[in-house]
């Protein structure tokens, strides 16, 4: 029994562990999905966060109101769960006294964390949360003041995909197959359909499946019977190879269009020749030759030995936005930083040109369209809103 008490006491002490203070340090919290069902997202986020902070500190820190500050990060795991994201946010705010939070990436964690950030008046930037509800106060329906995101939303992506299909691919008839169990993909499919029809296109088929399905032949046959000019597959990269293969086997030769859920290099190996020529929208193009992007990709590759994915790029840009805002703030206080983020205009990040408008946490930025060509992702075009 005594041992039990001792163990409990140790735990209590661990829980109450004190945060140390340093005069010229500012603390930024990161909430990432290090464990759980999307650990790859958490790992990319953590890597990019550490790299962004190291870059700033190597240059002597950050200059706020004429004083140099060293940036310190505290990275917390959300395990991809809503409750743990909330406790991580509260721990960062009450224990580690962070003045801003980057993350969580998954919307299921970002929404509860954003509630806490908003009530605690701590700016939070989610790199990857595309759920519109993240930045909206559910009670008033207005935008939250302290919550931002670095990515564009699904609805925006759906609109851009529709514009691309009609404009550059000259498609008049489109068919869609999407994963109904994913909030993101469902949103993209629905907005695409709506926009495409509004702009004069026809949706010839609108089929669904659920995560884990492996046979799409029934849906593909239905899509084929509508004789579309284009097939949109807002589906995860792991499902794409089977779908494309089954489409090709049925003799579907029209262009295939995907969304950011395709953006994994694993797709290239899995899909082989079948995906050649397909397009998809993305947050980020790692093969871009723009100087900022190239430096980011090279540095990341040198540090971690891999090509950064869109989560890494968006995390890096989230820090970029935060640092930019800090430089413009009068003092390292959450309130000043929040106001400065709202005024970000034309920030040149690795994922594009980012602008925030007063009263909205959702950025205005361009969408990258990539094409699979010669077994690699190639930049095809930038679509500005």
């Amino acid at each position: 029994m005594a041992r039990l008490y001792r163990a409990a006491l140790t735990l209590l002490l661990l829980l109450c562990g004190c945060a140390k203070e340093q005069d010229n340090a500012i603390h930024i919290g990161v909430i990432a999905e290090l464990t759980g069902d999307i650990p790859a997202v958490g790992a990319s986020c953590k890597n990019a966060a550490e790299m962004a902070v190291k870059t700033v500190n190597d240059m002597g820190g950050i200059d706020i109101g004429g004083k140099k500050y060293v940036v310190k990060t505290q990275i917390e795991d959300s395990a991809g769960r809503a409750d743990q994201a909330a406790s991580a946010a509260l721990k960062l705010i009450t224990r580690d006294k962070v003045i801003a939070i980057i993350g969580p990436n998954a919307s299921s964690g970002a929404i509860p964390a954003s509630e806490i950030a908003e009530t605690s008046k701590i700016p939070m930037i989610s790199p990857w949360s595309t759920n519109p509800k993240t930045t909206i106060d559910p009670k008033t329906g207005k935008q939250k003041s302290y919550v931002f995101r670095a990515c564009y939303m699904d609805s925006f992506q759906g609109r851009v995909l529709a514009a691309f299909a009609l404009g550059q691919l000259k498609a008049k008839r489109a068919a869609v197959l999407y994963d109904v169990a994913s909030e993101v993909l469902k949103g993209q499919a629905e907005v695409f359909k709506q926009t495409f029809e509004e702009k004069g296109g026809t949706i010839t088929g609108f089929e669904t499946y659920t995560t884990g399905n492996k046979d799409f032949s029934v849906q593909m046959t239905k899509l084929k019977n509508g004789s579309p000019d284009l097939i949109l597959l807002p589906t995860y990269y792991s499902d794409v190879p089977l779908q494309v293969e089954q489409a090709r086997r049925l003799g579907i030769t029209v262009p295939i269009l995907g969304s950011d859920a395709w953006a994994s290099h694993d797709l290239l190996g899995l899909c082989g020749n079948n995906c050649e020529g397909a397009f998809f929208s993305s947050h980020f193009c790692s093969s871009s030759t723009a100087p900022g992007v190239k430096k980011f990709v090279d540095d990341y590759n040198a540090l971690y030995g891999s090509v950064p994915d869109d989560v890494a790029a968006l995390t890096y840009d989230s820090f970029g936005i935060l640092f930019e805002a800090m430089k413009r703030a009068a003092k390292p206080a959450s309130e000043d930083i929040k106001t400065a983020i709202q005024k970000i205009n034309g920030f040149q990040g690795v994922t594009g040109n980012i602008t925030f408008h007063e009263g909205s946490g959702d950025p205005e930025k361009s969408v990258v369209i990539l094409q699979i060509k010669d077994g690699d992702f190639r930049w095809f075009s930038d679509i500005k809103p």
């Binding site: 735990l11 661990l14 829980l15 109450c16 290090l34 464990t35 759980g36 069902d37 650990p39 958490g42 990275i75 917390e76 795991d77 395990a79 769960r81 809503a82 409750d83 743990q84 909330a86 406790s87 991580a88 509260l90 721990k91 705010i93 009450t94 224990r95 919307s107 299921s108 929404i111 509860p112 509630e115 759920n131 519109p132 509800k133 559910p138 009670k139 109904v180 169990a181 994913s182 909030e183 469902k186 949103g187 659920t210």
Partner: protein, 599 residues
Amino acid sequence: MKSNNFWVRFTSNRLPVFVGAGFVATLIVSRFSLMDQYVELVAMYVGINIILALSLNIVNGYMGEFSVGHAGFMAVGAYGASVLSVKILPAGVWVFPVAIVAGGLLAAAAAVVVAIPSFKTRGDYLAIVTLSFNMIVKSVLENIDAVGGPRGFLGMEKLTTLPWVFAWTVASVWAVRNFVYSNIGRGVLSIREDEMAGEAMGVDTQKVKLQAFVISSFFAGVAGGLYAHLLQFISPRSFDILKSTEILIMVYLGGVGSIAGSIAGAVIYTVLIEALRVLGQWRMVIMPLMLVILMIFRPKGIFGYTEFSWFKPATAKKREGAAIMSHQPLRQVETGGLLAIDGLTHYFGGLCALSDFNLRLSAGQILGVIGPNGSGKTTLFNLISGYYKPTQGSISVHGAELTRLRPNEINALGIARTFQNIRLFNNLTVEDNVKIGMFGSAGYNASGALLRTRRFKQCERDMSEHAQELLELFALDRYRAEPAKNLPYGLKRRLEIVRALATRPALLLLDEPAAGMNPAETGALMELVQRIRDDFKLTIMVIEHHMSFIMGLCETIRVLDFGVTIAAGTADEIKNDKKVIEAYLGSSGARNYKTGGNS
């Protein structure tokens, strides 16, 4: 030891004071924000997880079934409570408790839907059904746009506060304790220990399972409602299989079949998850690892099957000079036959186990059933007690037809039995074994148990006294608090008879009561059986291989061979029956026996 007793007395008397003080403390803490918000949040998670662990423990720990989809019920409660508080109920102080209770009731209603098909059979079936239920709930929620679909549901006020969580946690502990330590709770335990024996003792296992499952789900729903109003955001993803697994971990970590275990499991799990944040991604490896280690060294969890004394209600001591209760059959035959069996035939596939068996048994008789192994004796008992449905024929007691009834219903008509291979409720105390025998005559229902009504207390005290009396009569009272598995063999046999007597039967079926006993023990058992026949006004059927036992005890004897009745009569008649000797010794053996007998 003395200080320990003092501590027990002190805490059991002061428990309401402690609970009240705790509640006031949480009120003050949350009103004046005395606690770090982070610690407060973790404390609230702890409370919610305690409720979840208790809820699952009822099914997995106490009932011994295996639900793996409890997050599904939590989801029903969470969405139900949230929709009510956001969309339906007008704003007001009473919204929150009403929404939470309604969420719990919705989850309970869902449990009825799940339970009805799955409790028809036993075993892994429930695991599969609950797993599917969890997945169905998740996909249904993903497809209802009115509650946000996969994007989740928001708009709840932050109504869950520390005092509320404290109050609900205490209420859940109290309710689960009341439930577990009641007649229904003992019925639930009998299902875990030995469902077949429980049925034979009159436990309506289907009803008990349903009640346990419904109460369990109610609390899962309550926890869901609290969770939703704490995070102000719920999405189908929050209630996936991983969440169910989390609850399972807490239950098996803390200990199955223990309230202290549920509390310990929830506290350790929730606090460690936060405290181990320093470990980064290794954090989530520690918990499963701990569980694996624990399962190797303590497979039932830290507190498995044991309980802190303050979670047990005090058992009533027998009052001095209390009126001796009747042990005589609940239903006495006035005149004539007690049991009538006509043309009873039973086939296992193509094998005829019992063929055209006929019997008239009148009150007060002792009938012996003998025959070589495999001759259909136990089949006969299983047919009478309702485990098998006969292929043909009829059995009636007091003129009521039994063949369509379930074992517990047959027990209620006054037939109790023991088993060839002892089937006690091994992990339960000797007293509880006997009390389960009284299941059918408890005199209060589930709500009485949950609210601990005056009637409940009265009935419980009566049952305790009755049980102690029976134990005293059979010299088992000093083992009262001992788990049945610790008894020596002979006493186990005796306890099984006492347990059967506790159901106050008119007819007692004893299946090889003297198996494994030496001649002295067998003699003592004979006297015991005679005594209970007289004292308890019983009619007895006994299967035995000890010939001296049968010959000395039974007025009439039936001999079975390959399912066919080959002889019937008194001991002397049977002893000299040619067919009987042949059946036991074979035809050549019979010759030898005869010649041997002549010389």
